[in-house]
């Protein structure tokens, strides 16, 4: 059992609580870097898919896990990030500028959209963002001169410092690009949590009334959270576009929004690990199901709605039995071993709570 003695505020906000966790994460990064030498191209593609979903999940996690605002409209921001990257690239902007710029554009648009959305809360925000997700589809069609409407666009080859990166011919290079973006986003997220802004996010999530009493500007905090969340999601969307190779108005549908939200809930709300765990589930579920179907003898018969149905079932089980998601379960197992043999059964029992109306906030 490791005991951390914290003797100063600096200790409390350290990036790594101790040497052990530093070693674990360094080993994880080393594994991620050597992965292209260990796996064949197909699995590298799958690993890339996991990382892209994780980036998008990190974006939504800032908003939902950290600030407590539910968004079912993040597919719209995935689309915005994707389309703006490709349009900038086609206009001749180099990738190294176009990619971050697309993130910034998405973030700014997200912030502008957030300003009216801030006055809503809970269910109303969820519904407004659903409408946003549906509108995004139609708006992409209406903006056909830029977006090519229903016929869609093709992602060009990325030219980064003279390296040609293309998803199909060089999956390894594309993987490294995605890995780099993932690490940058994760470090950014981790540092954000240590900053006053990140703590303001958590305060707004836990109690708006108390946060207000502590002098936090709720509206501004929420808007910034929305903006940062959308920016990271936009980067994820751009990579998703490159990964898919071709995309149109239906690529980023409401189902993607919902999957993204469900993914971070399954992974564990409010934790960076959760975004990655959830991304694993969402990326490998179709593969797992098809393997399972083959072994049962279902053959190649396509069952429509099977994936979303099973996904929904998994989510229901998680919400009922492990509301903290995969990360929460992992923490419980870890703590059980760390405290062995002193772990008690009721240690994580939820406190009984009663709901009051939100109509009288």
């Amino acid at each position: 059992m490791r005991i951390q003695f914290k003797t100063s505020y600096e200790h409390d906000i350290r990036l790594f609580p101790d040497w052990w966790s530093f070693i674990v994460y360094a080993a994880l990064i080393a594994l991620a870097v050597t992965l292209p030498y260990l796996l064949d191209d197909f699995y590298i593609g799958e690993a890339t898919n996991v990382l892209i979903w994780a980036i998008a999940g990190l974006g939504l996690m800032i908003l939902t896990g950290q600030t407590g605002q539910v968004s079912l409209g993040h597919a719209a921001f995935l689309a915005l990030g994707c389309y703006s990257t490709i349009i900038l690239l086609e206009a001749g902007v180099p990738f190294i500028i176009a990619f971050p710029l697309a993130g910034i554009i998405t973030g700014v648009v997200g912030m502008i959209i957030a300003i009216p959305a801030l006055r809503m809360h809970g269910v109303y925000l969820a519904i407004a963002t659903i409408a946003l997700s549906i509108l995004a589809d139609d708006i992409i069609v209406l903006l056909a001169p830029w977006t090519n409407g229903v016929s869609g666009k093709f992602a060009p080859t990325i030219d980064l410092f003279g390296f040609q990166i293309e998803r199909w011919s060089q999956p390894g290079r594309f993987y490294y690009l995605v890995l780099a973006v993932t690490i940058i986003c994760t470090l950014f997220y981790r540092n954000l949590l240590r900053s006053p802004l990140g703590r303001a996010f958590a305060a707004v999530r836990d109690s708006e009334v108390s946060a207000m009493a502590m002098g936090i500007n709720i509206a501004r905090t929420k808007a910034v959270s929305f903006g940062i969340s959308c920016a990271i999601t936009g980067l994820g969307g751009a990579l998703m576009g490159f990964y898919a190779g071709a995309f149109n108005n239906e690529t980023f549908s409401l189902v993607i929004s919902i999957s993204l939200l469900m993914m971070i809930v399954i992974g564990g709300l409010g934790s960076i690990h959760g975004a990655f765990f959830g991304a694993f589930v969402i990326a490998f579920l179709p593969q797992g199901l098809s393997i399972l179907k083959d072994s049962v003898g279902g053959g190649s018969v396509a069952i429509p709605g099977l994936e979303t149905g099973v996904f929904g079932m998994i989510l229901i089980l998680f919400i009922l039995f492990e509301p903290m998601g995969i990360y929460g379960r992992w923490m419980k197992i870890r703590i059980w071993f760390e405290l062995f043999p002193f772990a008690r059964k009721d240690m994580f029992k939820r406190q009984k709570s009663y709901l009051k109306t939100e109509r009288l906030r």
């Binding site: 409408a131 929904g312 009288l360």
Partner: protein, 311 residues
């Protein structure tokens, strides 16, 4: 998502009287569609009023209700007479709603709205999958006596099903309104939503009350399903019109039953007019644009019930 049937519009040059008639026809058929949205929105409002949660699967409840009726009525399945099958289907939906609360939602008692939102979205996915597995993904039509024949008033044509939808929706709204404001159980439900702990102190069995309201919402969804299936073909994805019903519920304010009906009628009437007069591409976004417009300027609906607590 299958668009509700909009009558074919006249392409000949039209003079004044025919234009009036056409407007009236659009308006009346809009009312009929709007009542279906209103019926789903009633389900949202019922659950919101009594549990402070929103059931994002209400549209899928309606779909299940429609398919259960179809399974009981159609000759290819059970082949029961419609007037026997309809009440049976409504009763089954009531039991299903209660069981869903008893088995699943009760575990989230006292948790935040967000958890319920995500849970009900997942339930919607599962219901869609189950319906597809049982009844297939091909569109099917209910062999309903309401589906044949129509009324003609002057030049306006209105199917039996449309008339039935309008009549039933208004009656149901009236009775549910009376139920919430006049009966002991209705008041208990409102109390349970406003403050669960205080409701317990007053001797209200909050959990059972919540189970009853889920059962009631299931029955309303059953009624909506029967009427919707009488209007046209159904497939497991028709529940997605629940998203338009959100627009209805939001416009009406989530806590108000007549508001939900009014919101449903507004959305229903706007749709055919938008598709008649707006260019293609703009028309189908009209309900959502209206929804966002209302949320931006009246963030808690037109009939807002939110008051802020002062510290």
């Amino acid at each position: 998502m299958p668009e509700p049937a909009v009558p074919a519009t006249n392409t000949e040059p039209i003079n004044g009287r025919e234009e009036d008639l056409e407007t009236l026809q659009l308006f009346v058929s809009g009312l009929a569609n709007g009542c279906v949205y209103g019926l789903i929105a009633l389900g949202f409002v019922l659950i919101y009023k009594a549990t402070e949660a929103v059931n994002f699967a209400q549209g899928d409840f309606m779909m299940i209700g429609a398919f259960i009726t179809l399974g009981l009525t159609n000759a290819g399945y059970m082949g029961l007479p419609f007037w026997l099958a309809a009440p049976l289907a409504i009763a089954i939906m009531g039991v299903l709603g209660y069981l869903l609360d008893y088995l699943v939602l009760r575990h989230l008692f006292g948790q935040s709205q967000t958890a319920v939102v995500i849970l009900t979205i997942a339930i919607g996915f599962v219901l869609r999958f189950i319906a597809g597995a049982i009844w297939g993904h091909e569109p099917q039509t209910l062999e309903s006596p309401l589906a044949v024949g129509d009324f003609r008033f002057g030049g306006v044509v209105l199917g039996f099903a449309d008339v039935a939808v309008i009549v039933v929706t208004f009656l149901l709204t009236f009775f549910l309104y009376q139920f919430f404001h006049r009966t002991k159980l209705g008041l208990a439900m409102q109390a349970a939503s406003q403050n669960q702990m205080a409701a317990y102190y007053m001797g209200i069995p909050v959990r059972r009350v919540q189970g009853l309201i889920w059962g009631l919402a299931g029955m309303v969804a059953g009624v909506a399903g029967i009427l919707f299936a009488s209007q046209g073909a159904i497939d497991p994805n028709v529940g997605l019109i629940g998203i338009k019903a959100f627009a209805a519920a939001v416009i009406g304010g989530f806590g108000s039953l007549p508001g939900a009906l009014a919101g449903g009628l507004i959305v229903g009437v706007i749709e055919p007019f938008a598709s008649r007069y707006l260019p293609a591409g703009y028309s189908q976004i009209a309900p959502y644009a209206l929804l966002l417009f209302v949320l931006v300027f009246r963030p808690n609906g037109l009939f807002s019930q939110v008051r802020t607590k002062k510290v």
